[in-house]
Amino acid sequence: MMTFFEKQTNPLDQAHHMGNLMVDNMYTSGTAGKKFFTHLKENDTFLASRCKKCGTTFFPPRLYCEDCFIEIPEEDWKEVPAQGTVRLFTIATLNTFGEKLDEPKVIGMIDIEGTDGAMLGYIETDETNKDLIGSKVKAVLREKKDREGTVKDIRYFQVL
C-alpha cells in the first residue's frame, strides 16, 4: 500500500492532556447588515449598495467602497431580485471533522442579478452530475413568519 495511508493519525491515542476553548461570540450586524436583514425579513428581494464614483454595486451591501474608500450614502442603495447566476459550484462530501456528510451538498458561488457581488449558498438540484455553471437560480427564502433576520433566512438556491 501507499506509504502515507499507514501514518498514525489519531493524536488521542498518544499521551496527552485535554483542553478546550469555551468561547461564544456575538457579531454586530452593523448598519449595513441590519438594513439588509431587516429588509429581507419583510421582503422577497435583496438590497445592494452602489458606489457613485466607480459604479461597483456591492452585494452584500456595504457602507463604504473598498476601492475608492468613500462612503456609500443611503440614496445609493437599491433593491435587486433575490436571484442570480451560478458562477461556480462544487459538491462537498465532508464535514468539519473530515468525515462523510450524510448527504453531499452542492454549494455554489451565485452572482446576484443587478450587482457586482456574489453569495455562497446551497443549490438544490436533482442533477448533481449536471454542469450548473451559468444556470439561473432563485433564492428560496423561509416563510416570512419564520424569518429571523440572518443569512439562514435564505434556505437555498433553486435552479430555474
Binding site: 502515507f4 493524536p11 478546550n20 461564544d24 457579531y27 473598498e66 459550484f89 464535514n95 468539519t96 458561488m109
Partner: protein, 418 residues
C-alpha cells in the same frame, strides 16, 4: 553604505503527521537550537530580536506570544509574534535590521496541528460570520452556555453526532479549482501530474512525510471530496518547526559563515469577501511584484534557478506559477508536461516535495519553502540538489479561506544579477 540582510543560520525539525513525543515548546526549541548552532551563535547574547509567526487558533492558546520566549532563547529580550506566514516574519526581521537598531534577528514558525482536534472548524471560523460562515451550517446552542461537555466525562466536543453537520470549508478550494480549470483550460489530469511530481520529489527529501509513487490515474481515481478537488489533490497536514537567523552581512563576515542574501520580499492581502474577491491568486501577483521591484528583477521569467511555490492543493502550484508572472495563464501545465518544472528543467519547482509531498505546515509554509531555497543555494540539498543555483524564489499563501500571500527572493549575492 546600504545595509544588506542575509540568512546566517537555519534549523528545522523533521516533518511528521504527528509528533506525540515532544510538546510544542520542545520541538520549537529543537528547530531554534539547530539554527543557532548552524550560525555559530549564542541566542542569549548574539540575537538582538526574536519573531515567531503564529496564529492563536492554530496553537490553542490565547495570546500565544506569551508562550514563546523560553523555548527560542528570548526570555527578557525583544520578542514579538507576527500573526501571519513565515515569510511575513522574514520581512519584519529584514525591516528591523535595516533600521540599524538590531543586527541579528531570529524568525521561527511551526505547525503543531496534530494537537488541534478541530482543524476544520478553526478554518471555518476564519470566514465572515454574518454572510459566509453560516452557509456551511452552524452549531445552534444556548447562549452563554459555559462548559460544553458533561462534568463527569471531560471528553472533547469532537465526535458528538449532533455537532457534525457543518460542511468542511475546503469546499472553497472546490469552487476555486473549478474557476482555475475553466479560465485557463487546464485539466484535472494536469493537476494530477503536480501531485505525482511533488510526491515523487519528496522521496529525495529526508524531511518529507508524504512521499509516494503514484501515477496520474491514482490521483484521478481518488475520490471527489469537493469536486473537482479529489482526495489526493489535497496536501495532508503535518507538524514541524523551522527557525531562520537573519543578520546584517557584517555579522556573517565576522562569523565566517557563507551568507545567503534576502534580496527582496513582498506580501499582499485580497479583500476577505468572497463576494468581491478575485479567484486568480491576485495576492501572489502583488506580493511577487513587490519582491521583484525590491530585488531589481525586471523580467521574472528566466530570473530564477529554482522556485518553491505554495501547492496546498494541486491546482495551486500551477495557479501560483502563473500569478507570479512565470507563465501565462494556462501555460504552467504545459511547462509541467514539458518537464520544465523538474529538477533538471528550466524552472525547477517544488523539488522539496512541496506541501503535497512534505505536508501542509500552515503558517510555517513560507519558511519551509524558504528553507528549501536556502538549502539549495548553499548546495546542501543532497540527492535533490539542483545544479549550481544562484537565485531562488519562495512563495506562500495562508491557505483556505485566506487571500493573503507572500514571496521572498534569495541569492548567493548581495545583488541579484538582473
Amino acid at each position: 553604505m546600504t545595509r544588506k540582510v542575509c540568512v546566517i543560520g537555519v534549523g528545522n525539525t523533521d516533518f511528521n503527521s504527528m509528533t506525540p513525543d515532544v510538546s510544542w515548546k520542545e520541538f520549537m526549541y529543537e528547530a531554534c537550537k539547530k539554527a543557532y548552532v548552524d550560525a555559530g551563535i549564542n541566542p542569549r547574547e548574539d540575537v538582538d530580536s526574536f519573531i515567531t509567526c503564529a496564529e492563536d487558533y492554530w496553537e490553542g492558546f490565547s495570546i500565544f506570544d506569551e508562550f514563546v520566549p523560553d523555548q527560542i532563547g528570548a526570555v527578557l529580550r525583544p520578542c514579538c509574534t507576527v500573526c501571519g506566514d513565515g515569510i511575513q516574519g522574514l520581512a519584519s526581521a529584514y525591516m528591523q535590521i535595516m533600521t540599524g537598531l538590531v543586527d541579528t534577528v531570529a524568525v521561527e514558525s511551526h505547525s503543531k496541528i496534530s494537537d488541534a482536534l478541530s482543524y476544520g472548524d478553526v478554518v471555518l471560523h476564519a470566514m465572515d460570520p454574518i454572510y459566509e460562515k453560516p452557509v456551511a451550517g452552524q452549531v445552534e446552542r444556548e447562549r452563554f452556555s459555559g462548559p460544553s461537555y458533561p462534568e463527569k466525562s471531560p471528553k472533547p466536543l469532537v465526535g458528538k453526532t449532533d455537532e457534525k453537520g457543518r460542511v468542511h470549508p475546503y469546499y472553497i478550494a472546490g469552487l476555486e479549482m473549478q474557476h482555475y480549470l475553466r479560465s485557463t483550460k487546464t485539466t484535472e489530469e494536469q493537476c494530477a501530474s503536480v501531485v505525482v511530481k511533488n510526491k515523487r520529489n519528496a522521496y529525495d527529501n529526508p524531511m518529507a512525510d508524504y512521499e509516494c509513487s503514484l501515477i496520474e490515474d491514482d490521483v484521478m481515481q481518488s475520490e471527489y471530496l469537493f469536486k473537482p478537488v479529489k482526495e489526493l489533490d489535497i496536501s495532508p497536514l503535518v507538524d514541524g518547526a523551522i527557525c531562520f537567523v537573519l543578520a546584517e552581512e557584517g555579522v556573517a563576515k565576522n562569523l565566517g559563515v557563507e551568507p545567503i542574501y534576502l534580496n527582496g520580499f513582498g506580501y499582499s492581502s485580497e479583500t476577505p469577501w468572497f463576494s468581491s474577491r478575485g479567484m486568480d491568486a491576485g495576492y501572489a501577483t502583488m506580493a511577487s511584484k513587490m519582491a521583484y521591484k525590491m530585488a531589481g528583477i525586471k523580467d521574472p521569467k528566466g530570473a530564477f534557478d529554482i522556485i518553491e511555490v505554495d501547492d496546498r492543493f494541486s491546482y495551486k502550484e500551477l495557479q501560483h506559477i502563473e500569478a507570479l508572472g512565470l507563465a501565462k495563464p494556462g501555460e504552467a501545465a504545459k511547462m509541467l508536461e514539458n518537464g520544465e518544472l523538474e529538477k533538471d528543467g528550466k524552472l525547477p519547482t517544488n523539488i522539496s516535495g512541496g506541501s503535497l509531498g512534505i505536508g501542509n505546515c500552515l503558517e510555517a509554509t513560507g519558511l519551509q519553502r524558504s528553507l528549501e531555497i536556502v538549502t539549495q543555494l548553499r548546495g546542501f540539498a543532497g540527492k535533490r540538489q539542483v545544479k549550481n543555483p544562484e537565485v531562488g524564489l519562495a512563495q506562500s499563501w495562508r491557505g483556505i479561506p485566506s487571500g493573503t500571500g507572500a514571496a521572498a527572493i534569495f541569492s548567493r549575492y548581495p545583488e541579484v544579477k538582473a
